[in-house]
C-alpha cells in the first residue's frame, strides 16, 4: 500500500457540466490538439447534456471522467516495460513517456474506457509556444498519455488544476489514507459511488450522489 493515496471526491449534486476542469487541464498540461484528459459524461447518454428517462420523468448527473488513479490498478500489471506505474509517495498512477513503447496494453486493461489516449502522430498545438506549467513532461509521438493528477503540482505541495478551476466547489482533493483528511470526512458523511467497483481496482475518485 502506498504511503499516501491522493484522490478526488466529486460532488455530482454540485457539478453542472460546465467543462471548466476540462479546459483548465488542457491548458495546464499543454495538451495537444484533440487530446482531452478530463471529459464530462452524463448518466443519460452520449450527447453533452443527456438526461436519463423520458420527458418529464427525468434525472441527470454529470460525471467528470479522468484516470481513476486506482489503489489496485489494472494498467500497471499489463504494462510490459513498467512505463505505467504506481507512484509510492502519492499513490498516483503515472506514465513514463520515455519508457512507453506504445503497445497500448494499458489502454486495453483499463476498465475506464477513454481516460487514456494514444498519440498516433507527432502532437500538434493551437499555439506556437507551450502553455501551462513549465514542468509538464513534453508530449511525444507513439506514447500513451493520461491525467497525471497534476504530478508537477503535487511535488510542490499544490493541488491539481481541476480543483481550483471548478466553479461549483464540486471537486475536492486529498489523501484517502489519512483518516483526518477532508476527502475521507466527505465520504464518511455522504453517499458515494466508485465506478465499476466489481473490477476490483478500488478507484481513487469518489462520486458523491
Amino acid at each position: 500500500m502506498a504511503e499516501k493515496q491522493y484522490g478526488l471526491v466529486v460532488d455530482t449534486k454540485r457539478c453542472v457540466g460546465c467543462h471548466s476542469c476540462s479546459v483548465a487541464c488542457k491548458i495546464e498540461n499543454n495538451l495537444s490538439a484533440g487530446v482531452i484528459w478530463n471529459r464530462i459524461l452524463t448518466n443519460g447518454g452520449a450527447s453533452m447534456d443527456s438526461a436519463k428517462g423520458t420527458f418529464p420523468n427525468l434525472s441527470k448527473h454529470y460525471i467528470p471522467m479522468i484516470c481513476q488513479h486506482c489503489a489496485n490498478p489494472a494498467c500497471t500489471k499489463a504494462c510490459p516495460v513498467g512505463a505505467t506505474y504506481k507512484d509510492i509517495t502519492t499513490g498516483a498512477v503515472r506514465q513514463d513517456y520515455d519508457l512507453c513503447i506504445g503497445c497500448r496494453m494499458c489502454m486495453a486493461a483499463c476498465p475506464y474506457t477513454g481516460v487514456r489516449s494514444f498519440n498516433w502522430e507527432e502532437p500538434t498545438y493551437t499555439m506556437d509556444f507551450a502553455v501551462g506549467d513549465i514542468n509538464v513532461p513534453k508530449h511525444q509521438k507513439h506514447v500513451v498519455e493520461k491525467c497525471t493528477l497534476c504530478y508537477h503540482k503535487l511535488s510542490k505541495g499544490e493541488e491539481p488544476i481541476c480543483i481550483d478551476a471548478c466553479i461549483s466547489g464540486a471537486r475536492v482533493f486529498g489523501d484517502l489514507n489519512d483518516p483526518d483528511d477532508k476527502v475521507v470526512n466527505l465520504i464518511s458523511k455522504r453517499k458515494y459511488i466508485q465506478l465499476l467497483p466489481e473490477r476490483g481496482t478500488n478507484p481513487s475518485v469518489y462520486y458523491l450522489v
Partner: protein
C-alpha cells in the same frame, strides 16, 4: 482593412491606420455638414465592457459619440423585465447573489442559472446545502432544473399566466400578506369607475398643495394625495391621514362608483384560476397549487433570467412577478426579493458628456421605419454612417433580413472588433482593436458583487489599437480633440474616484490597483425595507399610467396594464396566426463555450463544444421522419437554419431548443438569426428572441 469588392464579397485591402482614420474623419465630416449630427450612428453591444471599453456606450468612444451627438442605435436586448418592474416599483430590481443565503426558496424563472450565469451557481449550491429549496420553472429540463428540488415545465411564453394563477390561489386561500399590501402598496387606494384613475383628494374638493422643488424639472411637486377608505372613521380619507385603510370596499360617492385597487386586481385574477388555465399553461392543477404554496414559505426569491422576458409579454412578466412578491410580502428583505441576480454600481456619468451634449437613442427595432420614412419622432433623420463596437449584430441580434435591410441602406459602415465576425464581413472599413488583456480597465459588471481591476498583461499585438486610442485619433481629426487629450489614467480616475457610489464606499482607482478586487458593501437587496421610490413610497400593485421604455412615436396604451393581466405572446402561442402555420416554439439556450460569438475561433473550446444543432423531443422528431444526428431544416416565413438534429428528452414536446452564438459560416445553410423576430412590443421595445414559431423537416440538399 478596407473593402475593395462588393460589400460582403470578402475582398479586402490592408491600409494604414493613418489612411483609415482620415477616411473615416472625412466621411463623417461630410455627412455631418450635409445631413446633420444624427447622420452618424453608433451600435454597441456587450462584447467588451468596463470603463474604457466601448460596450454600453462607455469609454472614450462613448464620450466621442456624445460630443458629436450621434444617433445611438439602442440594441433593445434584455430590457423588458425592468420595464414592467419599473411600472410597479419606480425602480429596477437588482439583487446581489449573496441574497440566496437568506432565501428559504429560490424560484428560477426563465433562468438556466448554472449554464448562463455559472458564477451564481456556487452560492446557490452552498445555500442548498444549508436548506434552501431550489425550484425551476422552465419548459425544458435545463441543468438548473436537474439540480432543483422541484421542476415545473410550462408552455413557452406562459410565465405571466402561471404567475397570475399563483396570485389568485394565494389570495383565495387567504395566504396573502394584508399588512404588507396596505403598508407598502397602493392596494388600498380607491379607483374611480369612470376613468380608472386613482381617486385623489382634489376629486373630493381639496386643493392640491405645492411640495418641494423637483430637482429634475425645477418645478415644485404637486401634492394631491390618493384616497383610501378609512374603517376607523368610515369615510374617504387621504392615504397618509387614514389610520385604518381597508383592502376591500366599494362605495358610491356623489354618484361615482369607487373600488379599492385590490378588489379590481382580485376581480381580474378570477380569470386565472388554476382549473381555467391549466391546459393553456400546460401545468397540472396540483403543480400550480404546489408552486403557489411554495411562494408562501418564508423568504422567497423569484430569480429571473432573460428567457421569460423575451416575449411580447416580457414587460408584463416583470410586472406580475413583482406583484406576486408584493402579495406575499416577500420583498425588500435579504433573501426575500424578486428579479435578476445583478449588482448595479454607478460610475461618474459626467465623464462621458464633457460638452453636455448627448447621443439620441433610436431603437434598432424601429430602425427600418426610420430608414423608410427618413424621420424619427417627426423630425428629418437621415442616417448615413455606422460605427459598430463591441457588438456583432449580424449574428447576435434578431431578424437577419430585417437587419440587412437597414444595414444595406447605410452608406459607410465601420466595424471595430478583434475577431472576424459576421458583422465585420459586411463592413466597409475594419479596425482591429486590442483585447481586454492588452489595456488596463476597471470592471463593474453586475455579474458579480465586486469591482475589479483588469490589468494590462501585454502590449497590443500586431497592429491593434485600443478603442480609447481610436477615439482619440478620430477626435483630433474631427476638431473635438480638446476633449480627448486625457490619459487613460485621468479618465479612469475621474470615472471612479468622482462617482458618488464609489465615494460612499471609499473606492478609488489607487485602491483598486492595490487590492485588485473590492467587494461592495451590504446585501444589495432590491426595494430594501419595502420602500419604493414612487409618489407615496408604496408599490403600484395598480399601475394607473405606464410609459414605454422608449417613445419613438409608436402607438401604445398607457392604461393597458392597470391591473396585472395576461397578454399572449406574439407568435409562440397556440392561438397565434404564426403557430397555425409553424406549430413549434423555437427557443434558445447558451452555448457553454462562447460568450455570444466571442471566442468562436478558440480551438481549445471548440474541442469540447458542439456544432450548430437543434434539440428536439424524439416524439416530435419521429412524427416528422427525422432521425437522430441527421441534418434538418428549421424554418418559418423569415428564413431558415440547416443544422444537426439532436434527440433530447430534456425538451418539452412542441419545443425546439437551439444553443445560440454561431457565425454564419458554421451553418450548413442559413442561421438562427434568420428565424428570430424583430417585432417590437410597443411598451417594452425589446427583442422577443424566444417568441418565435417555426417548423422542422429533414434537410434534402438541392441538387
Amino acid at each position: 482593412m478596407k473593402r475593395v469588392g462588393e460589400r460582403g464579397s470578402g475582398e479586402w485591402e490592408r491600409i494604414s491606420w493613418d489612411e483609415a482614420i482620415s477616411t473615416i474623419a472625412e466621411k463623417w465630416k461630410e455627412y455631418r455638414s450635409k445631413y446633420g449630427n444624427q447622420s452618424l450612428s453608433f451600435y454597441w453591444g456587450s462584447g467588451a465592457t468596463g470603463q474604457l471599453a466601448p460596450g454600453n456606450a462607455t469609454g472614450l468612444m462613448g464620450r466621442l459619440v456624445n460630443v458629436l451627438e450621434f444617433t445611438n442605435i439602442d440594441y433593445c436586448v434584455d430590457l423588458a423585465m425592468s420595464v414592467g418592474v419599473g411600472w410597479v416599483s419606480a425602480s429596477g430590481a437588482l439583487n446581489d447573489i449573496t441574497n440566496v443565503k437568506y432565501s428559504d426558496r429560490v424560484v428560477l424563472w426563465g433562468c438556466s442559472l448554472s449554464d448562463a450565469w455559472w458564477q451564481f451557481w456556487k452560492p446557490v449550491a452552498d445555500a442548498m446545502e444549508n436548506g434552501t429549496r431550489l425550484i425551476t420553472v422552465d419548459p425544458n429540463f435545463s441543468t438548473s432544473a436537474s439540480k432543483s428540488d422541484l421542476w415545473i415545465s410550462n408552455r413557452p411564453g406562459s410565465d405571466p399566466l402561471l404567475i397570475l394563477s399563483l396570485m389568485q390561489y394565494i389570495i383565495e386561500h387567504d395566504l396573502h400578506n394584508k399588512d404588507f399590501l396596505i403598508g407598502h402598496t397602493n392596494a388600498s387606494f380607491m379607483v374611480r369607475s369612470d376613468n380608472g384613475k386613482i381617486l385623489r383628494m382634489s376629486d373630493l374638493g381639496q386643493e392640491p398643495t405645492e411640495g418641494p422643488v423637483n430637482p429634475y424639472t425645477g418645478q415644485p411637486t404637486i401634492i394631491d394625495p390618493p384616497v383610501v377608505w378609512d374603517e376607523e372613521t368610515s369615510s374617504l380619507q387621504a392615504w397618509n391621514v387614514a389610520t385604518k385603510p381597508t383592502l376591500h370596499k366599494n362605495y358610491v360617492h356623489e354618484g361615482l362608483r369607487l373600488d379599492t385597487a385590490f378588489d379590481l386586481v382580485v376581480a381580474e385574477l378570477q380569470n386565472y384560476k388554476a382549473e381555467k388555465i391549466t391546459e393553456l399553461v400546460g401545468v397540472p392543477v396540483d403543480q400550480i397549487e404546489l408552486l403557489a404554496l411554495e411562494q408562501t414559505k418564508g423568504n422567497v426569491w423569484n430569480l429571473t433570467g432573460m428567457a421569460s422576458q423575451a416575449y411580447k409579454n416580457g414587460a408584463v412578466f416583470g410586472q406580475v412577478l413583482v406583484c406576486l412578491n408584493l402579495i406575499t410580502g416577500s420583498i425588500g428583505r435579504p433573501g426575500a426579493t424578486v428579479g435578476a441576480a445583478w449588482r448595479f454600481f454607478s460610475m461618474n456619468g459626467a465623464v462621458l458628456t464633457p460638452t453636455g451634449t448627448t447621443m439620441t437613442n433610436v431603437p434598432v427595432l424601429g430602425l427600418n421605419q426610420v430608414m423608410d420614412s427618413g424621420k424619427f419622432k417627426g423630425q428629418d433623420w437621415p442616417i448615413k454612417a455606422l460605427y459598430v463596437a463591441a457588438a456583432n449584430p449580424v449574428s447576435c441580434a434578431a431578424d437577419y433580413h430585417g437587419i440587412k435591410s437597414w444595414w444595406d441602406r447605410i452608406e459607410f459602415i465601420v466595424v471595430a472588433d478583434l475577431q472576424f465576425t459576421d458583422s465585420v464581413k459586411y463592413a466597409d472599413l475594419v479596425l482591429p482593436v486590442a483585447h481586454a488583456l492588452e489595456t488596463e480597465d476597471v470592471k463593474t459588471s453586475g455579474y458579480f458583487p465586486f469591482i475589479g481591476i483588469s490589468e494590462k498583461a501585454i502590449e497590443p499585438l500586431f497592429e491593434a489599437k485600443t478603442d480609447g486610442d481610436i477615439a482619440r485619433l478620430l477626435a483630433e481629426q474631427l476638431g473635438v480633440g480638446e476633449h480627448f487629450r486625457l490619459s487613460n489614467d485621468e479618465f479612469l480616475r475621474d470615472r471612479i474616484d468622482n462617482a458618488p457610489a464609489a465615494k460612499a464606499q471609499n473606492i478609488t482607482l489607487d485602491r483598486l490597483r492595490k487590492e485588485k478586487d473590492i467587494y461592495l458593501e451590504g446585501p444589495g437587496t432590491a426595494f430594501e425595507g419595502g420602500y419604493f421610490p414612487t409618489e407615496t413610497g408604496k408599490a403600484n400593485l395598480y399601475c394607473e399610467m405606464v410609459a414605454p421604455r422608449l417613445n419613438w412615436g409608436q402607438d401604445f396604451d398607457p392604461t393597458a396594464v392597470r391591473v396585472p393581466r395576461f397578454f399572449p405572446p406574439h407568435e409562440s402561442w397556440p392561438t397565434s396566426e404564426a403557430m397555425k402555420k409553424y406549430p413549434m416554439a423555437l427557443m434558445s439556450e447558451r452555448l457553454r463555450t462562447r460568450w455570444h460569438t466571442n471566442e468562436y475561433e478558440n480551438e481549445w473550446l471548440a474541442e469540447i463544444g458542439q456544432e450548430p444543432l437543434v434539440k428536439i423531443n424524439p416524439i416530435d422528431a419521429v412524427e416528422r421522419g427525422i432521425t437522430d444526428g441527421s441534418l434538418v431544416e428549421v424554418f418559418n416565413d423569415r428564413g431558415h437554419a440547416v443544422v444537426k438534429a439532436e434527440f433530447s428528452d430534456n425538451i418539452r414536446p412542441g419545443v425546439l431548443l437551439y444553443p445560440k452564438s454561431w457565425q454564419q459560416h458554421e451553418f450548413k445553410a442559413g442561421g438562427w438569426t434568420e428565424l428570430t423576430s424583430s417585432f417590437p412590443d410597443p411598451l417594452a421595445v425589446n427583442t422577443s428572441f424566444m417568441d418565435v414559431a417555426a417548423d422542422i423537416r429533414p434537410w434534402r440538399e438541392e441538387a
